[in-house]
Point group: C2
Chain length 335, copies 2
Amino acid sequence: MPELRKDPVLGRWIIISKERSKRPTDFPVEKPRSGGGFCPLCPGNESFTPPEVWSAKSDENGAEGDGSGWMVRVVPNKFPALIIEGDLAKEGVGLYDKMNGIGAHEVIVESPDHEESFSDLPARKMQFVLRAYRERILDLEKDLRFQYVLVFKNHGKAAGASLEHSHSQLIALPILPRMIVSELDGAKSYYSYKERCLFCDIIRQEMQQDVRVVCQNERFIVITPFAPRTPFEMWVLPKHHQSSYCLQSDEELYDLACIFGEALQRLTACIPNVPYNFVLHTEPLRSGGTEYFHWHFEIVPKLTSIAGFEWGSGFYINPLPPEEAATFLRKSLEK
Amino acid sequence: MPELRKDPVLGRWIIISKERSKRPTDFPVEKPRSGGGFCPLCPGNESFTPPEVWSAKSDENGAEGDGSGWMVRVVPNKFPALIIEGDLAKEGVGLYDKMNGIGAHEVIVESPDHEESFSDLPARKMQFVLRAYRERILDLEKDLRFQYVLVFKNHGKAAGASLEHSHSQLIALPILPRMIVSELDGAKSYYSYKERCLFCDIIRQEMQQDVRVVCQNERFIVITPFAPRTPFEMWVLPKHHQSSYCLQSDEELYDLACIFGEALQRLTACIPNVPYNFVLHTEPLRSGGTEYFHWHFEIVPKLTSIAGFEWGSGFYINPLPPEEAATFLRKSLEK
């Protein structure tokens, strides 16, 4: 019997079609082809990107500015979806509404090594990437035109990556994205009913039931959510209530790097070369610490196709129950 | 300067990134490969599908039941996402909600001819497909377990089609899909403010401005919407207010077939072999004719990829302004 499940945050329903249940090896993954040739994100080619807006230098090497010696480097996107200069010029056109496409679009180069993927980064290196996210959000927060900064990653061609060199992106937006509005609404309505954070309650229940927990450390937990959109979808959450990603100390970011890396290694062990996206959902800029929202990463492997039904309904069909996905992920690093 | 535009129905914002603006030939389309071999949807192979639930027979040929002689044939999906037998058994699991995956999942075989695509169907044949949608919704409406029937089509492998033989599908659902709820909410809130149907107002404005109209006849209009998710997205709407698709007469369905076919031929002339999805949005079952909702088809070509940003935000980036798409589509059938 297939099952309908409701995402407790968004109210989005999904179909778990157990009859079509699959093993990790049933998901075909295209082998990545090495592009070869010139890479604008590699050390030595810094002049091919716009000037950097943030970087982390290695300790041994004191190189400055756009020179080499960086471990992580943030630069404006050369082909931005939104542009930084100008004002919003909000305008109505008959019954329609529009505004200028003002925003920031930046690229976080995660490693100087062209071959090193995000999931392979040792925690002390991944920590710098996670720090870059925090520092860039804090900086863009000062620009009062922006309401939200969305940090995301496309890994693998099928997941939308156009450059091979490992990188993530952020887009600062002048309006709250619909998905964030829905999450905030869902979380707020639960809070006003229960006086408790919905995500804290989810974590508590997941730790008790222990059927969808993938891995955890003292500060963080990784689960397959109750109503996942895709096989092997995972959420990474801080165990203790924290509304904004930016409230984290460097020490906490190190612990986050450990568990985030482990989650992705488990995923990759299940499905080699898996294309995936991840996004950071944190509270809107300048919210000042809400009681009801709880930041988290959502990792969404690209293994199923979005077709007419999903487009038309906002409903997803997922052939793999999250309990089975969690079992595969828990066992995946056993020798 | 890129532009942010708000969909007036859903409140969903999209980015029109004009700087990345493209011509139809800039969208790479994979050539379809003919699968060859056995086709369960071809005449003569009727016994390889579950027994038909509806069919239209050709006039000349009086064959009955599952024999050949059909023009359009509706059968239960052999691998359904939801199943028809059982009750919903709604249940809470701690803070989560679930129910049995009860529903209907049917396949509408659009032609006996394996090679004939939906957009190639002459109006008198396409009318039978459109009639099948109406008849199946009317029949499934009698089942009080269902709240909605979503009709959709996946054309081309990239758009999720798994069989080559031209077909569409429907899924009857025990709950209202989130996308429909959002459309109803948006339309209802506009109506309560203005006392007018939002879609009727859109049609009036589009006909006046005449920059996003693709084609029209006496009863129907095809537009590229103001805030399209993808290049060449089109909406097909009845010009006069009508909340339910099922209220249409056979004569109206013939006119719809003419304009629907023309819209798809224009699309295919712009981008040969274009993969696309379409969905029918009509009022929920047993609504009895709302003043505020207006049924329509949404045609969504699969030309851009859904990556981390779209997943995380519900925001779409579209490189082609709908005014330019409309111009290409209007000129596409000129010799």
